[in-house]
Symmetry: C2
Subunit: 242 residues, 2 copies
């Protein structure tokens, strides 16, 4: 199996590592210094151009950034006869748009941490052809509909980000009342032993990235304009005041 990578950041680096044993190809064409370092430290064949990568791939993985994803799809999506797997962390709308510029499009979302535990969620009519990837890491095929994998990631994000905002709200008051540790221990009775550690890490991570997380929540509201997203809206307010 020949697997091509457009873009060679954290995601491609880790996947290429897990997929060793296959023929892995990429290109250094117009890549940043950091990306070239990633390529040099991996066991991967280097072709002159991404066009060649596309033409030679049974699976072509696009993993750059949400903004570049359309450009990638337009340029290389019809050059490959293989599966085009989009891992650009895109919105469901972008997934559908990108699919129109490619043959054999599969919508992919990495859920979890790419460098420790993750599951690759896939949707699209050709997604089942990627089932064999389960040999290398956990893969779940959720439906034939392009966009479903991306939607699942957004839905998960509604839950996790609102949960973090809830923790911030609760722990702020608890701290003022000098009951923070007691409260965390108390909640842990029903939520499990690792609750305390996870809650503290969630709050820290959210506070450190409040601006970005606020923007992501804002995008969710734009994506579901007709739904009652009271909690998401309140979470945005909460993140504006920390």
């Amino acid at each position: 199996m020949k697997i091509g990578f457009i873009g060679f950041g954290e995601v491609s680096k880790r996947l290429s590592n897990l997929l060793s044993g296959n023929i892995l190809i990429t290109s250094k064409e117009n890549r940043s210094k950091k990306t070239i370092e990633n390529i040099n430290s991996s066991n991967i064949c280097i072709l002159e151009t991404f066009e060649e990568v596309a033409k030679n791939s049974d699976i072509l993985i696009s993993a750059t950034s949400p903004k570049q994803s359309l450009e990638n799809a337009k340029r290389y999506g019809k050059l490959t006869n293989g599966i085009y797997l989009d891992l650009n962390n895109i919105s469901p709308k972008t997934a559908i748009r990108n699919s129109k510029n490619t043959r054999n499009f599969v919508d992919g979302s990495i859920i979890g941490s790419i460098n420790s535990n993750f599951t690759l969620y896939l949707s699209g009519k050709d997604a089942n052809k990627l089932n064999f990837l389960n040999e290398y890491f956990p893969v779940r095929i959720i439906s034939n509909n392009v966009g479903d994998a991306s939607k699942l990631k957004i839905l998960r994000s509604i839950y996790t980000k609102s949960l973090s905002a809830t923790l911030i709200e609760t722990l702020t008051i608890a701290e003022k009342l000098n009951l923070k540790d007691e409260l965390l221990d108390t909640i842990a009775i029903s939520e499990g032993e690792d609750f305390k550690e996870k809650a503290i890490s969630r709050v820290k991570n959210t506070k450190n990235n409040a601006e970005r997380k606020k923007e992501e929540l804002q995008e969710i509201i734009e994506y579901f304009p007709d739904d009652d997203l009271e909690i998401v809206k309140a979470s945005i307010k909460k993140l504006s005041n920390i």
Copy 2:
């Protein structure tokens, strides 16, 4: 140790069961039919009046209802020389008020389910005298301040009720997109295997008791008028629209 009970509902029934081996006393004075049934099915000594119960108790447990708690404290709080343990699920303000009508007041909150797993949280200067109850069920003494045990229960309630509202918001959209089961499985990756079952049971319980839970959230806002309770307010809205 002589332990007296004012009120003999679910809490007293269960505690008296766990505390068997001590001398347990109560009265049928002005009690409801249901309460008298509870008393008749327990191994407990029955005195003519609650005045006698108060006078004879080393620990006097008041477990009727938040509304009756002040009346209990006023009537019996100074008749007993023992510890007065208030388990009426009262607000921190009520705890402080009741403590002024009693000697040796201890503020108590039962967290968890009285009929399966619970921990009894205690606060007040005499709380440490009840440490021996750990022989019978889990007890945690959190501070010398009357009101802290009640505050802890409120803080926990902010978290659990907001979490339920967040689940309702997220799962409503997921259901519309036909991704509810997938979403629950996906969140379970980070939240633990029992997440799915717990989430479904939380949503069901909250929907079935939306009105009461809304009122409890409203009370929280009244109790913390100066705090940013964006998520609690959004949770009230959420519970108004289901």
